[in-house]
Symmetry: C2
Subunit: 359 residues, 2 copies
């Protein structure tokens, strides 16, 4: 968080240009890290800030809160959003005993929180699945009429050109070539035939080089067509079900001639708009799209299309996109992308389906 | 294992130059990986080979065993050495139920195995703590008179010159400098004083840059004195207690003039000598010392001495060395190294104590 100026500026502006959301209010910072958002909330006038952090970084947050003179306002709580209970008036927080939830349901529904602030976004928005904790916090603690910081999020998909596909294909071919030499050598020098593993080796390396999402800071001139939104989310109402599986059908018009569709690129933006009843006076955007002035630590995610078809201005790419949590690790994402090229001439190329792993 | 020719050659020679250890014998391969040592054991004439592998790589081992025509001899067993039981005559293996251990202790003491072969060595021999499983296997299964492959191991320590210390010190200073700028900027732009974290940041980065053992492939001409053995181990009798904590006092004579003791370097060798009753006909050594013809994937471990004293021929360095398992992760190692420079002139410099983490 701290070294990414775009990110810092966005949150800082969002808080300090909208002090009416914070003045005299109770704020909850989900995943506070070193506590910066909690400290800003206090500086912006919050009456009370709960800063929840699951890891031992909570200890650092406590130190920073003290050193910045807001220890009377910010209470750092180490635990997960799912496991803690926030204090009722005057009480100190305590860990929630599951049996306690059942016997004192009102203890979990104090409707105390006016603002939930959190920097929960992972690569391509949803990797890490940290928004689950924000939803949990919101459903358990947010006042009716409370606001979410950020309030909205979108996932984008766009056609790009890039040398990455050729580079990765070359790396893959080198790896397979090395393997084949290794199989020959192992037979010749050590009398063991390794060929039985060639299929598994190929699959593993194909996944690694060609089917894994690639972090990249793209230049805007690598876009060869219009981006489209594949997911739009209102942070006040979004459900875990809704982000567990993202599906979209989009058409991406190509606006460059004689190029290749090397990949699709994914990124996100979030907005700080407050809520309908309680809007921001100044809306702030945090955008992770390709930017010629450099980017954020999120960069963009590149999903290679191999083979990559030649495309021209006037063509369009129909994409059927789905992204679900990996079965092995719910913090990672598996994507199924099927694209179909419609040439300006009217000719349709056969659909190509590919799997991409965001790991 | 497979891509390190020094390692492959040593095991291959050890097995095929000592076929009397394998012909008609029962062999246990602890941590077989893709199964190469088990296949060699079968090719060398073993009557039966149990190849134990904890991970899913066991499936690859099974394929290789089949493809190399030794499936009637090699039985791949997926599990840990601690949890499996080997078949009694004619039975197939089964997972050991803890209550079963208690009620049928003789079921765990069948004394079936003639040879235990294993490639268990980690960085500086003991990192990863995989030898524990070999000890467990040996104590549970090895016949009296059985042999261990390898049979002996030694850990070495030597004084070296190296540019790594200056480089790492520079990296550390750059990191601290960046941090200081960051603290200033965060105060100036975002109104938060981060200075309370400076101490923790410094400690973390000092550990990372200066107190972490560094993998390196040293050239022999970087040695500035005689190496010494800090641990000698007979694989037939070594105990877990004995490797849990390695302590040694050694004197390292310096044999180069006008240089600096930049670091101590650690490496190991192992030998395949069979046993006293049943010795190898041809002893084989696997040595990971600095070698001008390149090295092994183990390389050597470099323990920086900061500050690094100037030394001359005739000086000697008294080193008090201890290496214990990390409390947080028993596969990692924490070292305490105290060195005292005795100059040729008779002058003794004050002892310097340093902690090094092998992670």
């Amino acid at each position: 968080m701290l070294c990414d100026r775009v990110r810092m500026d966005a949150y800082h502006s969002a808080v300090f240009r909208n002090p009416h959301h914070f003045r005299g209010k109770v704020v909850l910072d989900v995943g506070t890290g070193s506590g910066i958002l909690a400290i800003w909330s206090a500086q912006a006038g919050a009456r009370k800030v709960y800063a929840v952090e699951a890891t031992n970084v909570a200890e650092h947050a406590r130190e920073l809160v003290r050193a910045n003179g807001v220890a009377d306002i910010v209470e750092v709580i180490q635990g997960t959003m799912e496991d803690i209970v926030l204090p009722e008036k005057g009480e100190s927080f305590r860990f929630l005993n599951p049996s306690f939830i059942i016997s004192f349901p009102n203890g979990c529904q104090t409707f105390e929180i006016d603002v939930i602030i959190s920097e929960w976004m992972g690569y391509y928005l949803l990797r890490e699945s940290m928004f689950d904790s924000v939803i949990c916090a919101r459903d358990r603690w947010l006042n009716p009429g409370g606001v979410m910081y950020p309030s909205h999020a979108r996932m984008w998909l766009a056609p790009i050109r890039s040398g990455l596909g050729d580079k990765k294909m070359e790396d893959f071919e080198i790896a397979m070539n090395d393997w084949n030499h290794f199989v020959e050598d192992t037979q010749a020098y050590y009398g063991v035939n390794m060929n039985a593993l060639t299929k598994a080796y190929r699959a593993e390396h194909e996944k690694f080089y060609l089917k894994s999402s690639i972090w990249n800071n793209l230049h805007p001139n690598q876009l060869i067509g219009q981006p489209a939104v594949v997911k739009e989310m209102d942070c006040l109402t979004a459900t875990v079900e809704e982000i567990r599986e993202v599906r979209a059908q989009v058409t991406l018009p190509i606006n460059q001639d004689r190029t290749r569709l090397a990949a699709l690129a994914g990124w996100f933006d979030v907005h700080f708009r407050g809520s309908k009843q309680n809007p921001a006076v100044e809306e702030v955007e945090l955008n992770t799209a390709p930017d010629e002035n450099g980017g954020t630590h999120w960069g963009q995610q590149v999903f290679l299309m191999t083979p990559s078809p030649r495309v021209n201005e006037g063509d369009s790419v129909n994409v059927s996109f789905s992204m679900v949590r990996s079965k092995e690790n719910h913090r990672l994402m598996d994507m199924d992308i099927t694209y179909e090229l419609h040439e300006a001439s009217g000719r349709k190329l056969p659909a190509v389906a590919t799997k991409i792993f965001l790991e």
